[in-house]
Amino acid sequence: MTTKLLTALLLGTSILGSAGMAYAQDVTLNIESWRGDDLAIWKDKLIPAFEAKNPGIKVVFAPSAPTEYDAALGAKLAAGSAGDLITCRPFDKSLELFKKGNLADISTLPGMENFSDVAKAAWQTDDGKASFCVPMASVIHGFIYNKDAFDQLGIKVPTTNEEFYAALDKIKADGTYIPMAMGTKDLWEAATMGYQNIGPNYWKGEEGRLALIKGEQKLTDPQWVAPFAELAKWKPYLGDGFEAQTYPDSQNLFTLGRAAIYPAGSWEIGLFNTQAQFKMGAFPPPVQKAGDTCYISDHTDIGMGLNAASKNADVAKTFLTWVASPDFATIYANALPGFFSLNNTPVKMEDPLAQEFVSWRDKCKSTIRSTYQILSRGTPNLENETWVESANVINGTVTPEAAAKKLQDGLDSWYKPAK
């Protein structure tokens, strides 16, 4: 009796199951990503927007933890079980996937013309001939400041170096606020929010970055040492015990209103908006003299590519073309203030702080972090060494010249620029 019932049940489910399959002709696309934080945005905003326009295509966003992403993705690609669409890390990690044949060449994908060369550089072969990911977002460096504190002390937003240090001196003399919230404990703050933040004004953005890759400039040249010299001057303006101050400490110091200026990346905007109880503003890295061209680090951070082994490549390309469209850019940039679209079409954003950051693109020249493309492939790793040396310079344990020399020596030991 029970066996009969069970058989009937099984039969029933199998018929229902196959019936369901027969009716659903939908293609399902899977997205691999490390951005678990964005799950809600994808599920509630981006995917419905795409599915409404493209009936018959289902999209599933399946993130894994950031620290496990690269290893998990590698294993899935090798096993052939990876999703159709792959979220791309910038530069070498994705380039390696492309070289192994895991990522498809999408240079001719409709929509790629919406992006500038700088935007595409993070996901191109070294010669720039093949592109393999659609640029999704970048982060911009600058300084976020406590507007209330500036008003209270009567400080104008600094535009030049001179005004910048005058403002810091004034905040320090007043004593209510710590002039600048930054620590050297986690090392990368010093390099990313310090050196790479103010540096482009000295090495003239792309011009210096490309010259460095070509071997025409060296890290020991004045324009590359100068940012270190500036960092060395920051020490007196940092809080007590900044040597042991971590990145979350710095964030808290600023959002609790105890510090006036925060050397920032635009990714902080979302968090700061929810935590800070005061008005905030932002200014780009100050230039050396009034009237100088300003340069900003507008660093390409996240893109999306096509799994070369995907069975639904054509459908996936439709999706990528949509990712390259202004529609996607508008939804994405507004849902994640601080992650800016790289699309050439300007995107209208609601968040005032994000608007301020992105407005610099019009008046300043954009570049990406100097150490990311090609130069961090060898041992010693230039990016990691820059972290260590930037922190040393701020701590005052190494002179700017010695730090620059160490970096150049390390680079020389393995990097031979193409003549």
């Binding site: 404990k185 090392l187 015990g241 900044f242 101050q245 400490d249 492939r377 990691n384 040393n392 030991s413």
Partner: protein, 307 residues
């Protein structure tokens, strides 16, 4: 000459040994052999090519590697020295106090001191980072209360103090282990020996130095070798407190963190499993050497007392 009667092969020995041998081989011996093998290869054009000792030549010959290696080894030795001169004497002292029959609440102290040992490294690293934080930590305030505020510095952020501070944190965490082992050794000293000593007029401190200490020396030897192996395999505390770059300026870099960066890579640095395996092999040889020195030179000379 007649052949000796053939004894049947004793299969049960093989059968009984098999589970342990198989499991140990599968999860210890094979990976170890794999690591040693990996260190003799290099990845050239997506293929593993045998290169002999090339990786080791690079590790010791190329200043980009050797400077970091010697720095990590030096730091590791200092890490070990701090443990030996702080952790073990304190462990012996605590055990001696605990075994004193007049001490009340000894079970409570024993547990309280042992608890940090079972805490996760992540908790210990994070808790101490907070305690020593110049911004929100309790250490600056506590030192202020006793008027020592000016002695406070951001220890974890200074090149000259960071490693020693971390060593002492590790000592705090692990002091329970020598304490327990020596406590057990002290309890196992027979009453007759102590009584005989008392009859001979040896009491108090001299009883500890002349009777008990020699009797617990083998335990101290075991603890030293456990500390040695533990320290040269250490990684977790430095990683949780200082990150993989073991800052400031690599001053807290030990072999474990150096291996981690080489093997798995870090940030933009791509992992190099072959060089990582070479470093792991060196760690294995260092630990093997240390254990051999102990086994053949020290332990054979320790006198054993049979009661």
């Amino acid at each position: 000459m007649a052949a000796a009667p053939k004894r049947p092969f004793r299969w049960h020995i093989v059968v009984f040994l098999a589970p342990a041998v198989l499991v140990y081989t599968a999860i210890m011996i094979l990976p170890l052999a794999g690591t040693l093998q990996l260190s003799l290869f290099r990845n050239i054009d997506q293929a593993q090519i045998f290169v002999g000792l090339e990786n080791f030549r690079r590790l010791f010959g190329d200043p980009n590697w050797s400077v970091n290696f010697w720095n990590a080894l030096r730091n590791n030795i200092w890490f070990f020295i701090i443990h030996m001169i702080v952790q073990n004497p304190i462990g012996v002292l605590l055990a001696a106090l605990l075994s004193s029959p007049r001490l009340r609440f000894s079970a409570f102290y024993r547990t309280a001191i042992f608890v940090p040992t079972i805490l996760s490294f992540v908790i210990v690293g994070f808790a101490w980072k907070l305690i020593l934080s110049p911004l929100w930590g309790v250490a600056p305030n506590l030192m202020d209360l006793v008027g020592l505020k000016n002695l406070f510095t951001p220890w974890l952020g200074k090149e000259e103090y960071a490693l020693t501070t971390l060593s002492l944190i590790s000592v705090w965490q692990f002091v329970g282990i020598p304490m327990m082992l020596i406590y057990a050794a002290l309890l196992s000293i027979p009453e007759e020996v102590i009584e005989a000593a008392e009859c001979d007029g040896i009491t108090g401190m001299s009883q500890f130095w002349k009777i008990k200490l020699p009797l617990i020396l083998p335990s101290i030897g075991i603890i030293s070798i456990l500390t040695f192996v533990g320290n040269f395999n250490a990684f977790d505390l430095i990683y949780t407190a200082q990150g993989a770059l073991a800052g400031p300026n690599y001053s807290t870099d030990i072999l474990g963190t150096f291996l981690y960066r080489a093997f798995f890579g870090f940030q933009l640095q791509v992992g190099d499993p072959n060089m990582g395996a070479a470093i792991a092999t060196m760690m294995f040889l260092i630990i093997l050497g240390g254990v051999c020195v102990y086994l053949f030179l020290v332990q054979t000379r320790l006198r054993r007392y049979q009661f």
